[in-house]
């Protein structure tokens, strides 16, 4: 595994009015690792995702992907840089077929515009066929066989989660940020998802994982950071984070003797 830094989040602060949702958060995700981001509800995990993907502008701080600054870019430009994400509350294009959802994900890696759409030359048609083939193989990759024609909104819950991942993968990300990808899944589905994440990592995709399932996080993640009230309170390998006093306090709501209140 390489140790080169892929995503650098430095001193990111995000305020909504007077409320500091994120306070000087810094992360350093290395290429090829699975990096876990955990913390109690309302700790600022999803806010951090939204800041990184361009939905929110930062109050201060910087985000860099493979050395290139992301702040100030529009969301679609950030995707093109190689940063894709999924959503905590599934946000598929429910009225489009599963395959079409994945095909939309090919958008930043394909070209045909209004002229191509009207003229439909040979190049455009070949590109369209490529988009379709790539989308199909991505659906197979995440385990959605023969479900391409189903409307995304009609898929089973677990399949919708997989489809979101396939759609995000279609953008050819270097970094895939997953916001609670196994929420609401049963143990066997969770295990399958865990296997998928390992396969993705083996395929060269770096994963940034927000998750509440501590067992999954501890089993999969190479490193873990813990957010609480918008601050990073711990970072390290899974085992050491689990023993960290501040983390225990944040999760159990008490301040153990000897730990500074946060």
């Amino acid at each position: 595994m390489s140790t080169a830094s892929l995503l650098q989040v430095s001193c990111v602060t995000k305020r909504f009015g007077g409320l500091a949702a994120l306070e000087e958060v810094s992360l350093d995700v290395r290429a090829g690792e699975i990096y876990g981001l955990i913390g109690p509800n309302g700790a600022g995990k999803t806010t951090l995702f939204n800041c990184m993907t361009g939905l929110y502008s930062l109050t201060s701080g910087a985000v860099k992907l493979a050395g290139a600054p992301l702040q100030g870019l529009k969301p679609h430009q950030i995707v093109k840089c190689g940063f894709a994400r999924t959503f905590q509350n599934i946000r598929l294009f429910a009225n489009m077929t599963a395959l079409e959802n994945v095909m939309v994900g090919r958008h930043p890696r394909s070209r045909a515009g209004i002229l191509g759409a009207v003229l439909r030359g040979r190049g455009t048609r070949a590109e369209e066929a490529d988009i379709r083939d790539q989308a199909r193989s991505l659906m197979d990759y995440v385990g959605l066989h023969n479900k391409g024609r189903t409307l995304a909104g009609h898929l089973a819950y677990g399949d919708q989660r997989r489809l979101e991942i396939a759609r995000a993968l279609a953008t050819e990300p270097k970094l895939l940020a997953l916001d609670e990808p196994v929420a609401g899944m049963n143990p066997s589905e969770r295990r399958q998802m865990g296997e998928l994440f390992l396969r993705l990592r083996a395929g060269g995709v770096t994963l940034l994982l927000i998750e509440h399932d501590v067992k999954l996080v501890m089993g999969l993640c190479d490193r873990v950071a813990v957010l609480d009230y918008g601050r990073k309170i711990a970072e390290g390998d899974a085992a050491s984070v689990q023993r960290d006093a501040a983390v225990i306090a944040a999760y159990l709501g008490s301040t153990p003797v000897g730990a500074a209140p946060t």
Binding site: A84, F93, V104, A117, E127, E128
Partner: protein
């Protein structure tokens, strides 16, 4: 002459024009939830530009077949309208993208007034007549007279609708449009350049409107700086009838509205015992609009409003 068959034909011709204009309303609404009231005026500008070009061409080359002259007018009107709609979106609507919904709506009405007055300044207040250069061949089918122009309008309109359908369902751009219509934010996070998709939507709607403008002026034999107003309102009614935001709905709504209007105009005299004449035909479109809004606000093919999360 059988009045039912005749009015059915007239209604289908009118309806296919309404459908083309309605597509522009419904596509923009689908993506921005904005009722682009300036769309009727874009149609009018298309007619005016085309008529100007047709006038010049007919003067310069009187031997040129009428069909080619009209085609020349259309080919100039289309890019003119595309450019106009691109500019309107960029200057008038885009800065208001995050404003409350009422702001762009009022702006749209403002743009529509500006365009009307601009057209009045350029082309004057009088009617501009469509030169009689198209063949006037007529056929008789089931007791109805059908002109070549009527056939051409319907065939061209249906072809355009089919092409648009393919574009929206089968191309990368169409997919991006549908994705943007469902969720602008998610589309953007999947790498869709939403601004470009919105521009493309306006441009495509305007190109279709330009053709519809030429059709109307050829059909009635004239154009006028005020023609976009009523045409726009009717097309909007058609879009609402079919389910605003729904492309197939706009096509269906347009055709239905045309037929309702024509049949209404044909029989209103009989029904009211001669009290109301066929010049009340405009009334029907708005009766339909009110009826839809009261009894089925989501339109014939529209999804139930409650389903929109």
């Amino acid at each position: 002459m059988d009045i039912f068959a005749q009015q059915l034909v007239n209604g289908l011709v009118l309806g296919s024009i309404y459908a083309l204009v309605a597509l522009g309303y419904t596509m923009v609404y689908g993506i921005l939830e904005l009722i682009n009231f300036a769309h009727g005026e874009v149609t009018m500008i298309g007619a005016m530009v085309a008529l100007t070009v047709i006038g010049v061409l007919a003067g310069v080359a009187p031997d040129l077949p009428g069909v080619l002259v009209v085609l020349g007018g259309i080919l100039v009107a289309i890019p003119a309208c595309m450019l106009l709609a691109f500019g309107i979106e960029k200057i008038a609507y885009r800065p208001l993208r995050k404003a409350p919904r009422l702001a762009p709506l009022i702006t749209a009405i403002g743009v529509s007034i500006i365009l009307q007055n601009l057209a009045m300044l350029i082309w004057g207040r009088q009617y501009v007549s469509f030169p009689e250069i198209l063949p006037t061949t007529k056929f008789e089918v089931f007791g109805a007279h059908i002109s070549l122009l009527q056939i051409a309008i319907v065939v061209l309109a249906l072809t355009i609708m089919a092409c648009l359908w393919l574009l929206v369902e089968r191309t990368r751009l169409g997919r991006a449009m549908r994705a943007t219509a469902q969720s602008r934010e998610v589309a953007e996070l999947m790498g869709v350049n939403v601004d470009r998709v919105i521009s493309a939507t306006f441009i495509i709607g305007a190109a279709i409107a330009a053709i519809a403008g030429v059709m109307v002026s050829a059909y009635y034999g004239l154009a006028h700086y005020y023609m976009g107003f009523m045409l726009g309102l009717k097309a909007f009614s058609a879009a609402v009838l079919g389910g605003i935001g729904n492309i197939a709905g706009a096509m269906l709504g347009g055709l239905l509205l045309g037929v309702i209007e024509a049949l209404g105009a044909g029989y209103i005299g009989d029904i009211t015992g001669g009290f109301l004449g066929s010049h009340y035909q405009d009334v029907f479109a708005f009766f339909v609009l009110i009826g839809v809004l009261v009894f089925r606000p989501s339109g014939l093919l529209g999804e139930r409003v409650a389903n929109r999360a």
